[in-house]
Amino acid sequence: MQSITEKKATRRDFLKATGLTTAALGFPTIIPSSALGNAETPAPSNRIVMGGIGLGNMGSGDMGNFLNNPLVQYVAVCDVRGNVRDERKKQVDGKHGNTDCKAYVDFRELLAREDIDAVHIATPDHWHAIQMIEACRAGKDVFCQKPETRTLREGALVVEAARRYGRVVSGGSQRVLEDYRGIVQKCWGGELGPIKAINVEMGTISKPCNLPEEKCPDNMDWEMWLGPAPWAPYNHSRCDGNFSCEGGSWRSYSDYSGGNMTDWGAHHIGGATFAVDVRELQPTDVILTVEGDKRWLSFKYPNGVELTLNKPGKGQHQVDGTPGEKRAAKKVPEYAAKGGIGADFLECIKTRGKPFRDIELAVNTVTVCHLGIIAYTLGRSLKWDAAKQLFVGDEEANRFIDRARREPWQL
């Protein structure tokens, strides 16, 4: 397979080197710039060849961004729902003015294509880790929607896979950099002095689902939708991709999602850990406090910083600093290119640099979310050994680090 970094010999170079100019070949000399490329639009042979896996709500947005980026040659779509698949293929073909876009039900067939350099993934959360790891194994760079994992063990494994194969793997929260600039600037600029704590306001966690069986649409592959999750009968609300975490969507149910805790946690906690500069760390302690009917969490970081979740009397991203004390200003990291998190990913594919939302940083955020869910579920405080990826002195909590996958799926 030719990787994007090896695509140095362009079609233009080939014509030059062989002396086979268009005139010599007897062809007309008028060639559209889109075929050979220009300053803004590289020739097709120099573009990043991409495909998309899971193309519903978030996936269609990501697809639109990549499809319309002049650096990208978008060639393949994959979704287990026939109507979604057909619609996205139509969009891609419409953009290119041909019918070349291939549509797949099974992501493994898309990943097996040697001409594809990179994929973006926006399937339900229970699929993310398997698909990211399989994509790395196939030599693809990966952009994966948040939350990037469904269990703690998955986090360590996707980071390992990214590093093992030397792939560029970006998490998908655009909000971490773009939505919380005010508080990030204050913290990184030193205005608040050394930071003691930050609070995050967060909604509920997901629940078990026991919806009744409905007739599965003929154009949907239900087995592939469930994938590694426990078998359950089809019900439209079980698999609906709407953004509710309170029922009527896969985001509400614990087999597929952590609910608000991971869905919004990937953004809000990602922004908070970025602001107080602990995004490269994982907490050591999760302290559950119960006051009447209110429960809130405190995550202690090894450098002494505290991240609280729903602490009474605290607002969203409210920071406890030490104004008056000095804290050296630091330059806030930015995307590698203009155009948002997708453009950052594409630029890093070219340079082989780490994207702003490198998978390790994204996993650190989602780890906080998973730790919080486990503490709430078990109703107690926990100690976390980030190096070993194990809870300390709590065998029962360690059972929540992962869950068995339905055959034939393995990580």
Partner: protein
């Protein structure tokens, strides 16, 4: 709590898809409430085991296996083990067994490798890998040559998960058929990476070198080269 719990166990007898999850929620609540009460835990587990053995819908067994994932002990293994060969229940039996510590659960999973359909075996192999079950090295190595390519590939992946010198040796010494070569290559890379993490760079180096000498795919070759450079 006791009355609600009794009702929940009663509901389990006929609990099926479409019924209100709150009917069985007291079982979840009891798991949390009995955390520091060993006797109550034991009683809860005993009731769950009885419920698992009883005639009940698949959805009810699903609820029981989820609960045993959290509180199951060696006592629950004999009730879970027979379900491993059942294509409909095997996954949820593993859902519990994969997370129950101890050699008894490992033995139940290992014994299941010689039974059941290839599909079921693939699941069991995955659970042994996820547990990092060193005792499964020999049977997993034997399965590298299985006539079912899915089983052989799953065994390779599980050996990769073990990440030991012995697993690395088994992988690089194997002679995979074309259908399993990619899985063996990927698993060898994972083993080598884990060996590096464990501080055993010499063993990782040998693994990478053996891989490179095996005419690997371009992706495996690039990754092995990257691994070697990092040593």
């Amino acid at each position: 709590m006791s009355e609600q719990l009794d009702k929940a166990f009663d509901a389990l007898k006929t609990y099926d898809w479409g019924m209100e999850p709150n009917l069985v929620k007291p079982i979840e609540d009891a798991i949390v409430a009995t955390h520091t009460d060993a006797a109550a835990r034991k009683e809860l587990e005993t009731r769950l085991i009885a419920a698992l053995k009883a005639e009940s819908p698949r959805a009810a067994k699903d609820v029981v296996c989820r609960a045993l994932k959290t509180i199951g002990t060696v006592a629950a293994v004999p009730a879970l083990e027979p379900l491993l060969g059942d294509e409909k229940l095997s996954h949820m039996a593993r859902y519990a067994l994969e997370r129950i510590p101890g050699p008894e659960a490992a033995k139940a999973l290992t014994d299941a490798l010689s039974k059941g359909t290839p599909k079921v075996k693939i699941g069991v192999i995955g659970s042994l890998g996820a547990r990092g079950e060193a005792s499964s090295l020999v049977p997993l190595t034997g399965l590298l040559g299985d006539s079912d390519a899915g089983v052989a590939a799953a065994a390779a992946t599980a050996l990769g998960d073990l990440g030991s010198i012995e697993a690395a040796k088994a992988l690089v010494m194997s002679k995979p058929v074309p259908a399993t070569k990619a899985a063996v290559g990927a698993a060898s890379l994972l083993c080598a990476q884990r060996l590096v993490k464990a501080g055993n760079k010499p063993a990782a180096k040998i693994t990478y070198e053996k891989l490179l000498a095996s005419t690997p795919s371009k992706v495996v070759k690039e990754a092995a080269t990257l691994g070697l450079k990092s040593l």
